[in-house]
């Protein structure tokens, strides 16, 4: 079971993730051609200007107004990438299968960042309940997606601390990690890919065409 999950499943997840992202990207680029304004309006300069203002914390007005959400969102997303990529266990497994190795987070730091991600997910959950404008647009899928993203962090933490049966926990963790990876291209989690394009397009339309700022 363990070898099945750590071998083929990881492969499948990676292929689905990369293939799915490529499919979404190609699809978008093709249908952007039919949307006659997209390519003519795109501007590198104004696109990057907008991207910068939305990737730097507090560089946009709305980020300053909703500072608590901004802090949590940035912490959440940074850890989302940082932890799995620089986790000792992951790096070791990767090196074992492929060879290349890179620096890792100390175990204590990884633990704390994992807890941070889970707390941020709880914050998003509470926010969905507390704010009428968010609750109004929330459906079951939003809870499911949040759970899909939180699951690898919760289960990874549980495995590392040997809660319950270690072997089972690691298997559950790997499955949940795989599910998350595979979900990214085909759900709203694809905002990871589209963010760059929607933002640069809007930046171009505001900057190059309308001569105004969009942050």
């Amino acid at each position: 079971m363990y070898s099945l999950v750590s071998g083929p499943l990881v492969w499948i997840a990676s292929i689905v993730f990369v293939g799915g992202m490529t499919y979404q990207l190609v699809n978008m680029l093709k249908s952007a051609k039919r949307d006659k304004v997209v390519y003519p309006y795109m501007s590198l300069k104004y696109g990057l200007r907008s991207l910068l203002h939305w990737l730097v914390p507090f560089a946009s007005r709305n980020m300053r107004e909703r500072y608590e959400t901004t802090i949590v969102t940035f912490a959440f997303h940074i850890c989302l990438f940082l932890v799995p990529i620089f986790l000792t266990a992951h790096v070791v497994m990767f090196a074992f299968a492929w060879g290349p190795k890179w620096g890792t987070l100390s175990e204590g730091v990884a633990d704390w960042l994992t807890v941070l991600v889970v707390l941020a997910a709880v914050f998003f959950l509470v926010r969905r309940w507390m704010l009428p404008e968010v609750r109004f647009v929330t459906s079951l899928s939003d809870y499911v997606l949040l759970a899909v993203v939180a699951a690898p962090f919760v289960t990874g933490f549980m495995a590392r601390h040997q809660w319950f049966d270690y072997e089972t926990m690691v298997i559950i963790h790997m499955v949940s990690g795989a599910v998350m990876l595979m979900a990214i291209p085909f759900t709203r989690l694809s905002h990871m890919l589209f963010f760059v394009f929607t933002r640069t397009y809007m930046g171009s339309e505001f900057g190059a065409v309308r001569n105004a700022r969009d942050w």
Partner: protein
């Protein structure tokens, strides 16, 4: 803690024959056919990517004056409006009934100004206004358009202007205004069809119909600034475009083409347009976009930019400053949509002694007047909800304690007047041109005695 959706009290029902009567003849088959046709044939990457990317975070809400003014009622938040319309349509694959389409029209046509402020608040830059314009398009194709708005579209379609102005009325009005202008400035003329002029001046149809003195004022300004200008005697003089807001893009395209072709026919160097925001949007963005032009064929300059040029180049001189305290309504179609915020302030500062900037949000971030995007053109039935939907603007204006609100946009002008009336602010609204008429110097040799 907000109430769950099913506990929110229903909104007052507004009767509008354009919705109620026309909905009677709709069938479910026709609705599904139109919805799927519009979505399949007329939308592409932006539509799909925006809808798939939106993470339902609600961060766009604080942008919208409707949401803020209706006690943060989630039905008025930008994403809330998309949920009630497009999400539902897509979930049901277009199988919705006539009552649902009426709701869509109410939401997309009368409760969103297409002001695009929410795109500056959404971290992804989702263009909610565009999404709601797709809803308007669907409603239009189904014949569900508020009656007053549809009437303006019919007028555009039949007469190429918004208010059923006939050609002889148009020419008579110009002659009358030329006479009026000459009583102040001896050299004032309104040159018709002058080929090769430097400036082609266009206005919106309500000017000849009800605000003709604005044209006479412009004739005086042009004479004093010694501008070589012209206006067409033929169709294409009206730069307004409400078809753009009703989802009738075919008529929108015809109207914009007529406007630009009139300028091309007269071989002018550039088009200067009167103080109107949506006309600017139509002439510079939405029209060319639909017609497949990257840019308008003849450069288009909004009145604010033109006045700025006249003042900074010294072509008109300011004799005395306007004394009463003034504030400004920053029209989104030229400030957020055209980057003219700074020039507008500079013109005001050059002409007024006591300018009171509105409290935040300002410039691109300022609230829309609530009238634009065709909302005020939906007419009296929708006035109550429109005024109620912009109490934040009333509070903002009241805080300045100004007497005059300078408003270089016709829609804003009427919208702000309604807000002033509705909230009893006791202020007055003026166009920049009215201020200029009071403060600019008329050189002695041009003064009519």
């Amino acid at each position: 803690m907000g109430l769950p959706a099913y506990l929110i009290p229903p909104l007052p029902v507004v009767a509008d024959p354009g919705l109620d009567e026309n909905a009677k003849s709709l069938t479910r088959e026709r609705i599904a056919e139109v919805i799927n046709r519009v979505i399949d044939r007329e939308t592409a990457a932006r539509f799909r990517v925006y809808l798939n990317t939106c993470v339902h975070c609600g961060l766009c809400s604080d942008a919208c004056h409707w949401f803020l003014s209706n006690d943060r009622d989630p039905r008025f938040s930008p994403v809330g409006k998309v949920k009630q319309t497009l999400w539902e349509i897509l979930k049901r694959k277009g199988r919705v009934d006539a009552d649902f389409i009426k709701e869509c029209s109410r939401i997309a046509q009368t409760e969103c100004n297409g002001c695009r402020k929410c795109s500056m608040y959404c971290p992804f830059g989702v263009d909610i206004a565009y999404l709601l314009f797709v809803v308007r398009r669907i409603c239009y194709e189904l014949g569900i358009v508020p009656q007053f708005l549809q009437d303006t579209v019919n007028s555009h379609s039949a007469t190429m202007n918004q208010m059923w102005v006939k050609q002889d009325e148009w020419i008579d009005t110009l002659q009358w205004q030329e006479d009026e202008a000459r009583e102040e400035v001896t050299t004032a003329r309104i040159p018709l069809d002058k080929e090769g002029a430097e400036v082609f001046y266009s206005v919106i149809a309500p000017e000849p119909k009800i605000l003709a003195q604005l044209i006479g004022s412009m004739a005086q300004i042009m004479a004093i600034a010694r501008i070589d200008w012209t206006m067409p005697s033929f169709d294409g003089w009206d730069n307004s475009n409400l078809a753009m807001f009703a989802g009738d893009f075919e008529v929108m395209g015809r109207v914009e083409r007529a406007h630009h072709e009139a300028a091309l026919r007269l071989k002018v160097r550039r088009i200067v347009m009167g103080e109107c925001g949506h006309a600017f949007r139509g002439a510079v963005y939405d029209g060319p976009r639909w017609l497949g032009w990257r840019q308008p064929p003849v450069p288009v300059i909004h009145a604010v930019e033109f006045y700025h040029e006249l003042i900074t180049s010294g072509r008109i001189k300011i004799a005395r400053k306007f004394e009463e305290p003034v504030t400004v309504q920053e029209p989104c179609n030229i400030v957020r949509g055209g980057g003219l915020g700074t020039k507008l302030r500079e013109v005001i500062q050059a002409t007024c002694a006591d300018f009171r900037p509105p409290p935040d949000p300002q410039f691109e971030h300022n609230y829309c007047c609530g009238a634009g995007g065709g909302v005020i053109n939906c007419g009296p039935p929708w006035k109550t909800s429109r005024v109620k939907g912009n109490s934040v603007k009333a509070e903002q204006l009241a805080a300045t304690k100004a007497h005059i609100v300078i408003t270089p946009c016709h829609n804003c002008h009427s919208g702000i007047e309604d807000i002033i009336g509705g909230y009893k602010l006791g202020m007055h609204v003026k166009f920049l041109c009215e201020i200029l008429m009071q403060v600019m110097e008329i050189p002695d040799e041009l003064k009519a005695s």
